[in-house]
Amino acid sequence: MRASATITRTWPMLAALGGGLVGTALAAGAGGAPQVVLAGLGVAALGWGVLSLRAGRPLAPRIVLAASVGALVLAGGAAASGGLADVPGLPLAAACVFLAAVALSVARAARGARGAGRGPEASAAARSTAAPSTAAPSPASEARRSLVGLAVGAVLVAALATPALAATEAGRSAVPHGEHVAPGDEAPVDPAHHH
């Protein structure tokens, strides 16, 4: 249990990084108000991910939970009303998956904080009863677990985020079209792919 917790501890933050990247990529291909909202959400997610990684725990879980659920409801409502007709589906779905992962993890963190926050005596008693029952793992095994957790989380996030990023308008123009073009042998320019 403790080992799996060490491995997955950073995954909510990594999900936020993935969601932030997809959000900013969607913003790069959007315009007007959606661009501002997506860019704001993307940058906020990236910032929260980095700061939470630095803190070693999900920061401001209640605020992030409210913001994540609000963004999911907003995206669902906008999609249902046809307001996101111009936004590609895969990146939007990926962003929602990342948001949902963050929302679930911060909900658990908020519930844990509420349980532990019933008084200093209660949390001290919980610590004193919990600590002796679990032997402290060696630093080497702890380091390996945290690194394995980071690597697995990074691969999972990249596996979802990369195709989502490639499916955004900006991502489509980043993918080389067709065969490798030798220097001096330029391919015909397709104006539709240039912005």
């Binding site: 950073t10 990684l53 945290s146 990023l165 955004t168 220097p183």
Partner: protein, 135 residues
């Protein structure tokens, strides 16, 4: 070294990037130095000579830091991770323009993104206490 996630990550990623940089030169023989479309490494990763040098420099920095100390590894990991993440974001804004000097494609994005997340995560999140600086 085996107790430090930062040193392990820096050493492993550094060795891989140095190797990728060296292999990259084998497939970019006739490609312009900053060509926007380069050769294909392992049939998947688009690289050009500038990209290879970037891989070599980043790999060398990571490798040296990983073999040196926890503090150096942590600093270089965080810087390289943040830079790669920024590259991922900026790459979408410069793709399809003459500024696309790094020959980005989907496989590159996967490599950069996974690298960025691991390096940034370990650099920022692991070994926060100064007590482990001597590990």
């Amino acid at each position: 070294m085996k107790n430090s996630p930062n040193r392990i990550a820096a050493t492993v990623f550094g060795a891989v990037y140095v190797l990728v940089g060296l292999l990259g030169f084998a497939v970019t023989g006739g490609v312009d130095f900053i060509a926007t479309e380069g050769g294909l490494l392992l049939g998947v990763f688009a690289v050009n000579p500038l990209h290879n040098i970037a891989h070599l420099a980043i790999g060398a920095a990571l490798l040296i830091a990983g073999l040196s100390s926890v503090g150096a590894a942590k600093t270089v990991n965080a810087i390289v991770g943040a830079a790669y993440l920024l590259l991922g974001v900026v790459g979408f804004f410069i793709a399809g323009t003459p500024a696309n000097i790094l020959a980005l494609n989907t496989a590159d994005h996967f490599l950069h993104l996974a690298s960025a997340i691991v390096l940034l995560g370990v650099g920022v999140g692991a070994e926060r206490s100064a007590r482990v600086a001597t590990a």
